[in-house]
């Protein structure tokens, strides 16, 4: 990290130097307005030189800024890979233990291990959320659409949370439709679905129902996730899609939310040409809608060199 920091310092110095040169150029220019023509010529040369130098410094500043962003991206990728490695082995061993593959568990052991499983799953999702948030902010999120059946992605995401939902005594209703393939980036669409499902489960009290609908209409492929949960207070609506924002009533629900989920979904849908909106009544439930254009996700331009 140290050389990178040093680079940053020198970038600041260059900045000051560049501004200084620009000031000098302005002074010289003003002087030329007052002096005889031969001096004017020399001064114009000086001015041109100053402008060229300034542009050169400006360019080097931008390069350095780009390098800093690159190193941030590499750092985040490295951290997420390093975090996922131990999380993977935790996930696998817990799964085997819970399946009684290594011997029978008593009820308490089973209950506690379930909590480890859920916590591990949350950590894994968080790592993905942080990674994608960072990529989105650096403009480096890659969208490479490939033809997929959205209904398979949705069904897969629901499978992953069925156990958690039944533990919370929630039922998930999904009538899998027959839709044609559409070009989307499966991992990003999966992340949208996972985040909406996880919110619905998190904020719906016991006995509730989560209804998932996937349909095709003239504006595109629409996903609706309706819950019978605590709803979103009016006061929270302006801030809902902001990073790290959590509604007041959400803070009272057991289990931490990162405040990244909706922010990320909004960013992903905006980036890929889709749209997200919702209706909510405090105390009776929320429905989120995400629409992907009929032609699928818009691919991102080639990554910056």
């Amino acid at each position: 990290m140290r050389p990178k920091l040093a680079k940053h310092m020198s970038a600041t110095k260059t900045n000051i130097l560049g501004v200084g040169l620009l000031c000098l150029a302005v002074v010289v220019f003003v002087v030329t307005l007052l002096d005889p023509p031969n001096l004017k010529f020399i001064a114009s040369l000086l001015l041109a030189l100053a402008v060229i130098l300034f542009l050169a410094f400006w360019d080097s500043l931008r390069t350095r800024h780009h390098e800093l962003e690159q190193s941030k991206d590499e750092f985040v990728s490295l951290v997420s890979h390093q975090l996922r490695t131990p999380l993977t082995s935790m996930r696998l061993f817990v799964e085997m233990l819970l399946d009684n593959q290594v011997g029978p568990l008593n009820d308490k052991q089973h209950e506690y291990l379930r909590m480890v499983e859920i916590s591990t799953g949350r950590m894994i999702d968080l790592v993905s959320d942080f990674l994608n948030t960072s990529r989105l902010e650096l403009g480096r999120l890659e969208i490479r659409p490939q033809p997929v059946r959205l209904q398979d992605i949705v069904a897969g995401s629901i499978d992953q949370v069925t156990a958690l939902a039944s533990q919370e005594k929630l039922s998930i209703v999904f009538d899998k439709p027959e839709l044609p393939e559409v070009p989307v980036e499966p991992s990003l669409y999966g992340q949208i679905v996972n985040n909406l499902l996880s919110n619905a489960i998190h904020y719906t009290p016991e006995g509730g129902t989560i209804t998932v609908t996937l349909s095709q209409n003239p504006s595109g492929f629409q996903l609706d996730v309706a819950d019978t949960g605590i709803g979103i207070p009016m006061a929270a609506r302006a801030e809902l899609f902001k990073r790290f924002y959590r509604a007041d009533n959400a803070k009272h629900v057991i289990g931490e939310g990162s405040g990244l989920g909706l922010y990320l979904i909004k960013k992903i849908t905006d980036t890929c040409g889709g749209r997200i909106w919702y209706e909510s009544a405090e105390g009776s439930g929320t429905t989120f809608h995400v629409i992907i254009p009929p032609s699928g996700m818009t691919p991102t331009a080639k990554a910056k060199a």
Partner: protein
């Protein structure tokens, strides 16, 4: 899960000790025969000595990374048709595109998949 007959052999190339233990145990319980390589060049040596039915290949490994292993084995006439599933914790779509362009039949992010789902993906591969 019933063992498939005759027993299929899977070469698992992964330098992460705990992950290798977990996958080996889980896959063996499902009836597969599993051999483990701990780095890329060991994986290639083992592949050449005893051809398995399928390879589960990590990407970040010492000595030779997974991309290189994949490229090398696809150039080997005896191994070129061997199905390779990349099993990694690198999740960028560019990594997936690169792995698939070298001939990987599937690309799985380890942290995102349960053992059950991995077994289902393997079965799908063997059924194909």
């Amino acid at each position: 899960m019933e063992p498939t007959t005759p027993q299929k052999t899977i070469l698992l190339a992964d330098d992460e000790q705990f992950i290798a233990i977990a996958y080996k145990d889980g896959l063996e319980r499902a009836g597969y025969n599993v051999v483990v390589a701990h780095d890329g060049s060991e994986a290639l040596d083992m592949l050449r000595a005893n051809r398995p039915d399928l390879v589960l290949l990590d990407l970040i490994m010492p000595k030779m990374n997974g991309f290189e292993v994949l490229r090398t084995l696809k150039q080997d006439p005896n191994l070129a048709d061997l199905p390779v599933i990349v099993l990694t914790n690198l999740g960028q779509s560019s990594d997936e595109a690169e792995a698939r362009s070298y001939g990987a039949v599937d690309f799985i992010v380890k942290a995102d998949i349960s053992l059950k789902d991995l077994l289902a993906r393997l079965e799908r591969q063997f059924a194909a």
